[in-house]
């Protein structure tokens, strides 16, 4: 598939989603909110796919990187209330990338469980900074973030629907860019290092530099996701970035299939919609409220375990296989016809 084709598909899917959102005028605001959530989780999951799936580095700190994007957004908007959202998103990407360079340089020297442990420390430790320097970051209560107000031409649209429109743009850009990157030299270098570091080095790939690149790219996605998250929730607070957020993003890429970019979209959809799907199950089983609230997380944990035991390629892996089987069947029937 050529890069142009790939971009075309991305924009096509984006266009379809746009039409869907346009028709959402009358749909209840909660659905629209969910859609915005799917968007930012999908962006974070795409970033983690590049890092963990293609490059083989496992990060448990993506929740913390999202926090950096969200706080950048909140701090910027506190000073410049009317700043263009595109500029805010760019600023969130830049600030998170800068932090990612530091973390990435440390991470490039770490392997496997050591990297996971260090990024786990980041996820657990970083919210403490927001509490410690509460004068800047607002402590436990966090900082509020104003909504994006639709311009006059679209002033009939509710704010959430307008924001879902806006949120679609960075999703399409992220996926088109990453999908193209995967098939370039960078993507091949990432995969080569994941498969065999020594062989990759012998082929002239600069291991450390490539790994830092992958980490920064992935961190930039997390920062963008954090910015969208702050806009969606109208808030940047330490409680929004628990360790479970990082693990949910991880669950998204595992569910979709590690290392498969379309899988990240499936995973994000399931992570966000699962609590809803389960609430109808809860209603029929009459489960108490405490159980109800925890059921999704328990399910994600179980999914991580079951996936590792039996389905390491996730949903997109199964789809790819179906696709191949169909292609094979078609070839066979063509041969039979000939």
């Amino acid at each position: 598939m050529t890069a142009l084709k790939r971009a075309g598909i991305g924009i096509g899917i984006g266009g379809l989603a746009a039409v869907a959102i346009y028709g959402m005028d009358s749909i209840d605001p909660y659905r629209v909110y969910q859609l915005s959530t799917v968007f930012y989780i999908a962006i974070a999951a795409a970033g983690l796919t590049v890092l963990t799936g293609l490059n083989g580095q496992l990060s448990l700190g993506h929740g913390a990187l999202m926090a950096i994007g969200a706080y950048t957004t909140a701090l910027l908007l506190r000073r410049y209330t009317d700043l263009n959202p595109a500029l805010v998103m760019a600023a969130a990407v830049v600030s998170t990338s800068l932090v990612s360079i530091v973390v990435g340089i440390a991470a490039a020297r770490l392997r496997g469980p050591y990297l996971a442990g260090a990024t786990l420390g980041l996820a657990v430790g970083l919210p403490g900074v927001a509490v410690r320097f509460s004068g800047v970051f607002g402590g436990d209560a966090g900082l509020s973030v104003p909504s994006i107000v639709p311009p006059d031409t679209f002033s009939t649209l509710p704010t959430e629907v307008w924001f879902a429109w806006i949120g679609l743009i960075p999703v399409v850009i992220t996926y088109v860019l990453l999908a193209n990157l995967v098939s370039t030299r960078y993507g091949r270098d990432f995969r080569a290092i994941r498969e065999d570091e020594v062989a990759a080095e012998l082929h002239g790939i600069r291991i450390a530099r490539t790994q830092v690149t992958a980490f920064v790219l992935s961190g930039a996605c997390a920062g963008l996701a954090g910015c969208l998250m702050a806009y969606t929730a109208n808030l940047a607070a330490p409680a929004g970035f628990p360790l479970t957020l990082s693990l949910e993003v991880l669950a998204a890429i595992v569910i979709g299939g590690i290392g498969r970019l379309p899988g990240a979209v499936w995973g994000a959809l399931i992570i966000v919609l699962a609590p809803d799907l389960m609430s109808s199950l809860n209603d029929s089983l009459h489960l108490p409220g405490g159980v109800r609230a925890q059921l999704p997380l328990a399910l994600f944990g179980a999914v991580l375990i079951v996936a590792m035991l039996g389905f390491p390629h996730g949903i997109q892996g199964a789809l790819d296989r179906l696709w191949r089987l169909r292609a094979m069947a078609r070839r066979r029937s063509n041969e039979a016809a000939a």
């Binding site: 963990t52 083989g56 496992l58 448990l60 440390a106 020297r109 770490l110 392997r111 496997g112 469980p113 050591y114 996971a116 442990g117 260090a118 786990l120 420390g121 980041l122 657990v124 430790g125 970083l126 403490g128 900074v129 509490v131 410690r132 628990p242 360790l243 479970t244 693990l247 991880l250 669950a251 595992v254 405490g290 159980v291 609230a293 925890q294 059921l295 999704p296 997380l297 328990a298 994600f300 944990g301 179980a302 999914v303 991580l304 375990i305 996936a307 590792m308 035991l309 390491p312």
Partner: protein, 292 residues
């Protein structure tokens, strides 16, 4: 009393808890080359079990030993029924599996016992001791903590160094195939290793809860501290893990005491990154093999 001495004594007691968790990570790492990220969640679970038993029997000690037993069983079950199937696969899969276990335990426990913060009883007072006018920063519970961890550490050292069972456990971790050929039931011993590790973790959970309270993710930070302590010791050395725990306990006590308590978790992160960058083989291990 001199503030520095106070911080040193309380840091020592906290360090013993980190040492216990670090030791449990090291035992599993040496047995199966997996870092068990669910170790903290397992300890949290056994502490909830202890609380339920204590409330039912009104006896702290029955709950205490119930937690240790629950740790032994949970650890062995986790190895036998989950980890064993991914041990031979890519290392990433085993890590993701233990993370799934962490997520699941932190969700299932509040389903059973509720998510609210709970107080947890201590067998002895947690208030600082006083002799006449002189107040010593240590509480009787601090002394209990130090004593209990020392006892378990010495017990484990005796087991691994001084008994035939410990020898076969080390053999089956070191060379599973050869041990199998010599008639050792390697699988059972690996499960026992996980069980003993979870027992040590369960002790840490019991010692954390009276002062830091009990809630579903109360061990998240302690897990990071335990991992940092284990890395300080080189992740492969049991002695190193214990020393690493004490060193980290002291360091975090000084950071928290002079800089503010919120800095402890960020301080641990800085120490962890620094040690991984500068001396990844740990402070107490000589050797140049690349592991990190």
């Amino acid at each position: 009393m001199n503030y520095f001495v106070v911080l040193t004594l309380t840091g020592l007691a906290a360090g013993m808890i980190y040492a216990a968790l670090a030791l449990s990570l090291v035992i599993i790492w040496r047995a199966t080359r997996v870092v068990n990220f669910a170790q903290g969640a397992l300890a949290m679970t056994t502490t909830y079990i202890a609380l339920a038993v204590i409330q039912a029997t009104e006896n702290y000690w029955i709950g205490f030993f119930a937690a240790l037993l629950a740790g032994l069983v949970l650890g062995a079950v986790a190895e036998r029924f989950l980890v064993r199937w991914v041990e031979t696969g890519p290392p990433l899969n085993a890590v993701i599996l233990t993370l799934g276990l962490l997520l699941m335990l932190e969700a299932v426990v509040p389903m059973i016992w509720g998510a609210q913060i709970r107080s947890f009883p201590a067998p002895v007072s947690i208030a600082a001791m006083e002799f006449g006018d002189l107040s010593i920063a240590l509480s009787p519970f601090n002394l209990f903590t130090i004593g209990a961890v020392l006892l378990v550490v010495l017990g484990l050292f005796f087991l691994f160094r001084g008994t035939a069972l410990g020898l076969t456990m080390r053999a089956s971790a070191f060379a599973p195939e050869i041990s199998r050929l010599l008639g050792v039931r390697v699988g059972r011993l690996l499960a026992l290793g996980w069980g003993l590790a979870a027992l040590t973790g369960a002790l840490a959970g019991m010692l954390v809860a009276p002062t830091l309270l009990l809630y579903p993710n109360n061990m998240d930070a302690i897990l990071v501290y335990g991992f940092t302590a284990a890395v300080l010791g080189g992740l492969d050395s049991a002695v190193g893990a214990v020393i690493g725990g004490v060193v980290l306990g002291l360091a975090l006590s000084y950071i928290g005491g002079y800089g503010g308590g919120d800095l402890e978790s960020i301080g641990a992160l800085v120490i962890l990154i620094a040690i991984l960058m500068l001396r990844p083989q740990g402070l107490f291990v000589s050797g140049t093999e690349r592991r990190v």
